[in-house]
């Protein structure tokens, strides 16, 4: 590595770190305001609230029916993770192992839902789902959330499967393994780290997926992030601290899974999904 030791270079480095520091301070202060406010009794015109309490959590829990919302959220997220795993891993296996005519087109089909922002394809998707009567239901929310997650699993898994030597599978075949045994005893153990990583990322992304759920959810199929949006949107109806308490509950559910995910994946993977996969 080349290290410059001139004064100009040092000033430049300091300026760069100052920008990073400024960004991180503001980020943590923003999160901190929400947490502090959710534990404060009354907070007007001072640095910190007048007193501390936890009652906003119980009032948020009952006011926003957070019990129901959390159950729906976990069901949606669980099903999305499961189905996108099933559809994604099988498709990724086919794409990693075979070259067939029209493969580029299929890859494009899997790339587009990741490149086009959810709100752009969400509105036509919601229109179709409303016409078929799926919108507003639990399964409509699951189906809408699967649109970006299935391609995501595919694109993360393809390089993972490609690095497994096909000779291992051939050897298992020689020793008489059928397709099911081959999958269970050979492929699954080898692919498990990749599957785990991609599904954890799907989990984190689905908890925070606002647009698609917002466009297709009905009153009984709201996830936590949509309920939070409606609460903030109708601010003034409820106490600010109550909404903040809900926001903290949302943050905690997201961050737990983020911490779990970070043990298994490189954080940059959450973002650089489109770039990771090689062009076929």
């Amino acid at each position: 590595m080349i290290r410059d030791t001139t004064i100009g270079a040092k000033l430049w480095a300091t300026a760069v770190w100052a920008v990073v520091g400024f960004f991180i301070i503001n980020l943590f202060a923003m999160i901190g305001t929400v947490v502090v406010s959710s534990f404060g009794t009354r907070w007007l015109g001072t640095w910190l609230p007048a007193g501390w309490t936890t009652r906003w959590y119980s009032s948020a829990w009952s006011e926003f029916q957070l019990g129901d919302v959390l159950i729906v959220s976990f069901q949606v997220v669980g099903l999305v993770v499961l189905i996108s795993g099933l559809l994604g891993v099988t498709a990724a296996y086919a794409l990693a192992r075979r070259d067939f005519p029209g493969k580029k087109l299929v890859m494009l089909l899997f790339l587009l839902p990741l490149l086009i922002p959810p709100i752009t394809f969400g509105i036509p998707l919601a229109t179709v789902l409303y016409q078929t009567g799926l919108a507003g239901t639990f399964w409509g929310v699951v189906a809408a959330n699967l649109v970006p997650t299935v391609p995501f699993v595919i694109l993360v898994m393809i390089p993972f499967i490609e690095q497994i030597d096909p000779k291992i599978e051939a050897a298992a075949r020689v020793f008489g393994a059928n397709t099911f045994k081959l999958f269970l005893h050979v492929l699954l153990p080898l692919l498990l780290p990749g599957i785990l990583a991609s599904l954890l990322l799907v989990l984190v992304r689905t908890i925070a997926m606002f647009e698609l759920t917002f466009l297709v959810a009905g009153p009984t199929s709201q996830t936590l992030v949509v309920a939070l949006y409606y609460a903030v949107f109708a601010a003034g109806v409820r106490a600010v601290q109550s909404i903040d308490a809900m926001a903290v509950i949302y943050m905690v559910t997201t961050l737990i899974w983020l911490l779990v995910a970070l043990r298994f994946v490189n954080p940059a993977q959450i973002v650089t999904r489109a770039k990771q996969q090689p062009a076929h």
């Binding site: 980020l27 923003m30 007007l44 559809l87 949006y229 600010v240 983020l258 973002v271």
Partner: protein, 303 residues
Amino acid sequence: MHSTSQASHHDHGPSLRQRLAARGLDAVTLLVLPAALFLVLLFIYPFAFGLVLSFEPKAGGSWLANYSRFFADPFLYETIAKTLWLSIPTTLLNLFLAVPIAFRVRLMRNQRILTAILILPITLGTVLVAEGLLNYLGPQGWLNRTLVTFGLASQPLKLLHNYWGVFISLLLTGFPFTFLLTLSYVTGIDPALEQAAATLGAGARQRFRHVYLPLLMPGFAITFCLSFVQAFSVFPSAVLLGAPAGPTRVISIAAYQAAFEEYDYSMASAIAMIMGFVQLAIVVAILASRGLFYRGPASGAKG
């Protein structure tokens, strides 16, 4: 009967199954079908459906009625300019900040903590960032309090329910995304190239200008496109932090209102198509200009 058909197979060479397998079509290839069918059904079909629906106006009239209404009504067509006015400056600023920082972070040994911190606003999502900023940027929030205490502002700045609220939220959620993409491109370039330039006497500025910049330009173009498309579809923060009836009435708000307040799905589809078209136009323009830059290996010249 059966035996004759088998015999004729032998006469005509390999069976259909073998011929398909030779082209890569066999049982394994079929595994791609469930996922592909799912996406055709829930991604391609809705798009096609929306496109057709946008030409069938709810109120009747000519097939272009939705589009002519969009471009005749300033309340609608101005949303394009308003969205661009938010998304292009924030994307450019994010990219200009991300590049020097990525060059600095590239030298760090432990990047994991920094990237983990930066991943926070992305995982928390725009709704939570908007909710946090509502407190933080408010007239009594910590930011304004700090500014006034240190005498940097004589009175609290008005940062909410206007352009700047949305601008700041786009920086906060957009910067980590842009930065991590940029970092992955910057670290993908072989340091040997820079060392060679330094050996030949190039200063830091020259190395950046003549070695890195040409190699990174295509990556920056893609980063800009992806970040821009995200920023262009801003929705929750434009509603919660901005002035959704005024300067931050972005195009996604117009589409949402058409669909869920006027129940005019035809108009909403038309707006969604226009939104997609503008994104596509900018992305194509950027990627087309990529041809002007260097394209080639970004690693050492041994391979």
